[in-house]
């Protein structure tokens, strides 16, 4: 059989699959669906749409690997200048839930230089074990060196699940590890759960700029790997009474990849809070009119301990660095509160922020598309509204 086929006896020619196909590979010929295999990408969108079970996809044959050896949930404890980044605590919380369902342990993988003091934090937040690799050669993140060591650890200890934050570091690292280990990796997950019967990880993630969601599994490969979006899962609360084990693993300086060298880090942020980690983001758009007017955005952000974001228009105009851009060609953010000021809400911007918990829009045009995704909106002149908003918030928060 070919990899996908229509069971002619079951197909009624209803055409639902034709509508579901994102690549236009299905036609109806004599009241039966026909799949053009040159176009089909085997995405299985049609399978889901068919009410008559008339589409069949050949199942993957089980690989030879004995998967029962793989136990435990691992979290990559990313750190920046020796301090574990907040997304790790979110991962630990989720890892704890997954491990409890699987009746197994949570381990954190901590690589860096002089990071031993961070190991205790990881235990307080839910890790049973911390694999600590402390070396002057690991002080700055280099994908090649980190990959080599983590792949060693995976081979030695065989975890069934490995989670990393969907940060620039996590994404670059996880992709390398997954290829080295020949295992499945799902990017930028917003949901993780255990299939109770099969004891496998079900990973949910947005695709097509958040317009659709996909559920993904890697049933025949280990470890099952996922990078996880910031701020989607709550942080694990510290419990100072928790006990855990720290296992030191060596790093051999000969394993350094000499082809790549870290030279320097340059901090570049208008506000001190970074977009990905912010609970609240205040974003400015074209409605600000000039770069100087970003001041009012920054003031509002300061009142709320928020990060400063921007639409593409302001970045293209040179009003604010690219690192602040939210949207399709910038960053995807998911804060608790997103405040869009003078941003009309082009779809390219919306795909970067529409999964925020609460969206507030301030715009003078009542027809602006941003109001369609906003939970609260104010129609008005932002130069009047924002300073008033900041003032009122200050009064309210100081009470």
């Amino acid at each position: 059989m070919s990899k996908i086929q229509i069971i002619k006896d079951k197909c009624t020619g209803c055409g639902l699959c034709l509508k579901a196909c994102p690549v236009d590979a299905i036609t109806i010929v004599s009241k039966k669906a026909v799949i053009d295999l040159d176009k089909c990408t085997l995405c299985k969108a049609c399978l889901e749409s068919c009410k008559f079970d008339a589409i069949e996809v050949k199942e993957q044959t089980k690989k030879g690997k004995d998967l029962s050896d793989y136990k435990g949930v691992w979290v990559f404890a990313e750190n920046s200048n020796g301090i574990v980044v907040p997304v790790v605590f979110e991962l630990l919380n989720k890892a704890r839930q997954l491990a409890d369902e699987l009746d197994t342990e949570v381990s954190a993988i901590l690589l860096g230089h002089k990071v031993e003091s961070e190991a205790g934090k990881l235990i307080q937040r839910g890790a049973d074990k911390v694999y600590l690799v402390d070396s002057k050669d690991l002080g700055h993140y280099i994908s090649e060196n980190y990959t080599a060591k983590i792949v060693d650890l995976i081979k030695k200890y065989k975890p069934e699940i490995l989670l990393a934050g969907a940060t620039t570091t996590g994404r670059s690292l996880a992709a390398r590890i997954a290829v080295k280990c020949y295992t499945g990796l799902t990017a930028d997950c917003t949901g993780l759960e255990i299939d109770k019967d099969k004891k496998i990880l079900i990973q949910t993630r947005p695709a097509f700029g958040g317009n659709i969601m996909a559920q993904i599994i890697s049933p025949n490969f280990r470890p099952q790997m996922a990078t996880v979006r910031h701020k989607v899962m709550p942080e694990a609360k510290p419990d100072t009474a928790r006990k855990g084990e720290i296992i030191k693993e060596p790093f051999d300086s000969n394993d350094i990849d000499s082809r790549i060298k870290f030279l320097d880090f340059v901090k570049e942020a208008v506000s001190t809070i970074n977009l990905a980690e912010a609970d609240i983001i205040v974003s400015g758009g074209r409605g600000l009119g000039s770069p100087e007017n970003f001041k009012i955005i920054e003031e509002l952000a300061e009142t709320l301990d928020a990060a400063v974001g921007s639409s593409r228009a302001c970045v293209d105009a040179g009003w604010i660095p690219y690192s602040h851009q939210v949207g399709q060609t910038g960053r995807t953010v998911c804060p608790k509160i997103y405040i869009a000021c003078g941003i009309s809400g082009q779809i390219q911007h919306l795909v970067g922020m529409q999964s925020s918990d609460l969206i507030i829009a301030i715009n003078k045009d009542p027809e602006a598309p941003i109001f369609k995704v906003a939970d609260y909106g104010i129609v008005g002149d932002l130069f009047k509204v924002i300073p008033l908003f900041a003032k009122k918030l200050k009064e309210t928060l100081n009470r």
Partner: protein, 266 residues
Amino acid sequence: MNIVVCIKQVPDTTEVKVNPETNTLIREGVDAIVNPFDTYAIEEAVRLRDKFGGKVTVMTMGPPQAEAALRQALSVGADSAILISDRAFAGSDTWSTSLILSKALEKIKEAEGVDLVICGKQASDGDTAQVGPGIATHLDLPQATYVRRIDTVHLDSSPKIIVVERLVEEGYEMIEVQLPALITVVKEINEPRMPSLRGKMKARSAEIVVWKNSDLAIKENEIGLEGSPTQVVKIFSPPKKEGGKVFQGEPEDAVDELVEEIKDIL
């Protein structure tokens, strides 16, 4: 400097909508475009070639109609194009896709050498950012992801090196990478040019090389659905957001009403 750019043809994400009744993607009127991030990769390759000489090869894996994406790259200055297309590749996830692209790169390397591979930071349909690092790993190349600037290129040193700026969460870092290497680029790196009339005409008549799996000889159990570790279980549309409360009164009143609504969650 021989540069290979890996691109992807994607549906114009901004036009993708979900039919709320059938819960399926509406594709009518959705154009296929070159992944927006890849346009920066193509532009950077063409600029490097213009400065240092050499050749820009652009390649994509996809169905036969992905040829259109390659022609677009040719119209803005790429020298040659390769379409990697085979039914056996359908259903490949990022693991298998990066394997297939790495085998194609090996074939190019044998024929004419490769100094630098450039990819967009991610594709706008899948948004994984995994294929670039995946290719680098399959080929054991050093990588620099999220590159926002190539500072210096030393082609007469031994080994050849480049210094790049990588965008990270709180700023950027500078790293030195030996060639051959793979980089993925962000939008900030350049402003892609529009095709010239001459470029368009050249692209229209250019020959596009097509490689099938028989050209790459990859084991069937490493590609397509069979070789891909990840499997899609289902696709669904996210819960729809209802329009919220909009305050239209005087600024003072509107602000008071808004703060009243949100004060408990701050």
